[in-house]
Amino acid sequence: MHAETQKQAEALNKRFRPALMSFFLRRIHNFQEAEDLTQDVILRISERAASIDASRPDAYVFQIAANVLRDHWRRSRVRNAYETETLAVRGNWMDELDPERVMQSRQSLATVAGAIRAMPERTRTIFMLFRLEKMKQREIADLLGLSIRTVEQHVMRASLMLRDTLAQGGADA
């Protein structure tokens, strides 16, 4: 069972680690602490994977992230009064604090699919393997006979194109 949890954690890492890291880094500007909290969240989710609401996994994950962060602040006595109050008063404080993230992730399907379609074929293919088929860069490079650096460049370009389209609110949708 332990090995299974490990595997589960690996898959969750790929999906949620960047988002959790940026979530924590915005509030704690320290890589090591953000990393520890991220691993804490991933461990908690992988232990409870079966009970995650499959239709809204991200809501669940960020709920846990918020709890972990709250505990962290409680433990470290450096919490500042404003943050503590924010936590106490607002249930949906995450949304308030992460407006772009939430705005972007609420873009319509047509906008998102359109942004992906607009990418050059090779860039799109590599991005899809990386983000949706959850392959590592090394695996994609081996599969397609490319260098890791080339794969990285394609994913980078795809990510920036996507971000720009979504940040415009999908002007072309």
Partner: protein
């Protein structure tokens, strides 16, 4: 499209690294330095990650599925052009033949796609390592048809029980057909068994989807939603779960019943691969069928009633005498030699 500055590009690269492997100590330091160098950097990072989340959110939607299928098809084409990576090329002599004669060209392609059959006789087990590194393990009395093509790995369980350890490759979906059901897998370990009128699937590790109907799915295995809705025409299994598919009680209704059950701990891993037959509250019909895959003299049920009696226990495959003694001691089931078989009868039955 706005040109991207170095800050944006760096943010995207860091997001990619965070989503891939763990950072090396040197990379951690670089990353911290990059974060500290400009307070806006963390926002840049968040904006990349937010864009990814928008994609993840629609991962299972129809338009996104189409995009995913297209991406996989393109990747397959790119993969095929990669030198030294071609899969299942016909042998060189066939290529020569193909050059000599166009008619032969057709034949060589046909030959390369011919299925292979593996089968085991009574009391015999077999392990086959396939050329992609996947492992096929056959219980006694089992017959499996295998067809490997460039873009798929297909198996048909025609009789008995087999377990599969799948080498991960999203470009070559791995599927097992059994009695009109299809089990689709990614990197995983599972077994499929035909027993009585039931089909049983046990998942040891990873994920599989079991589909109604054995047409090859258009979707790649990763595309099945976790805990697929019953109406979606497939069932997802979690490790440790067993899916029992039985024909419906009323023959007319047609629709089979699919029920997931969680076997008692510890997971009854593929015990049969180690020569053990493990039964947990199974009807005697199942016990007899599994035992007979090994028995020189098969067991036969004296009547339908005895077949319904429930049995739990661990027996050595092929040791029929030990089994019949156990059945007599615990359930009072009598055994007597019949013509070409040992007949089992329920206590109180006289013949």
């Amino acid at each position: 499209m706005t040109p991207h500055d170095a800050h944006d590009e760096a943010a995207a690269i860091w997001a990619i690294k965070l989503g891939d492997d763990a950072l090396s100590p040197a990379e951690r330091e670089d990353f911290q330095r990059w974060l500290d160098s400009d307070p806006a950097n963390v926002d840049r990072l968040a904006s990349i990650v937010g864009a990814w989340e928008a994609v993840d959110r629609y991962a299972a939607s129809a338009p996104m599925m189409t995009l995913r299928e297209e991406a996989l098809a393109t990747a397959r084409r790119m993969h095929a052009r990669t030198p030294g990576m071609a899969i299942q090329r016909p042998p060189v002599w066939m290529l020569v033949a193909a050059c000599l004669c166009l008619v032969f060209a057709g034949i060589s392609v046909w030959y390369a796609q011919q299925p292979t059959f593996y089968s085991t006789g009574r009391g015999e087990r077999q392990i086959v390592v396939l050329d992609d590194g996947s492992k096929l393990s056959l219980d006694a009395g089992t017959r499996v048809k295998v067809r490997y093509t460039r873009d798929g790995r297909q198996f048909w369980l025609q009789e008995g029980r087999a377990s599969f350890k799948v080498a991960k490759n999203p470009l070559r979906p791995f599927s097992v057909s059994a009695r009109g059901k299809l089990v689709v897998a990614t990197g995983t370990e599972f077994s499929v068994e035909l027993i009585g009128r039931e089909t049983r699937v046990i998942l040891y590790e990873g994920h599989v989807a079991v589909l109604d109907g054995d047409a090859r799915p258009r979707a790649a295995p990763g595309m099945f939603d976790k805990k697929g809705s019953a109406g979606a025409g497939y069932v997802m299994l979690d490790p440790g779960e067993e899916l029992v598919i039985a024909p419906s009680a009323t023959a007319a209704a047609g629709a089979p019943t699919m029920a997931i059950r969680e076997p008692a701990n510890p997971l009854p891993s593929a015990d049969w691969e180690a020569g053990q037959l493990v039964f947990e509250n199974e009807p005697l019909t199942v016990v007899v069928e599994r035992t007979n895959r090994y028995a020189e003299t098969p067991l036969r049920l004296g009547d339908a009633r005895v077949g319904l009696m429930r049995v739990s226990g661990v027996f050595r495959a092929g040791d029929t005498a030990n089994l019949t003694e156990g059945l007599a001691a615990t359930l009072g089931i009598a055994s007597r030699p019949g013509k070409d078989a040992i007949i089992l009868t329920a206590p109180g039955d006289k013949e």
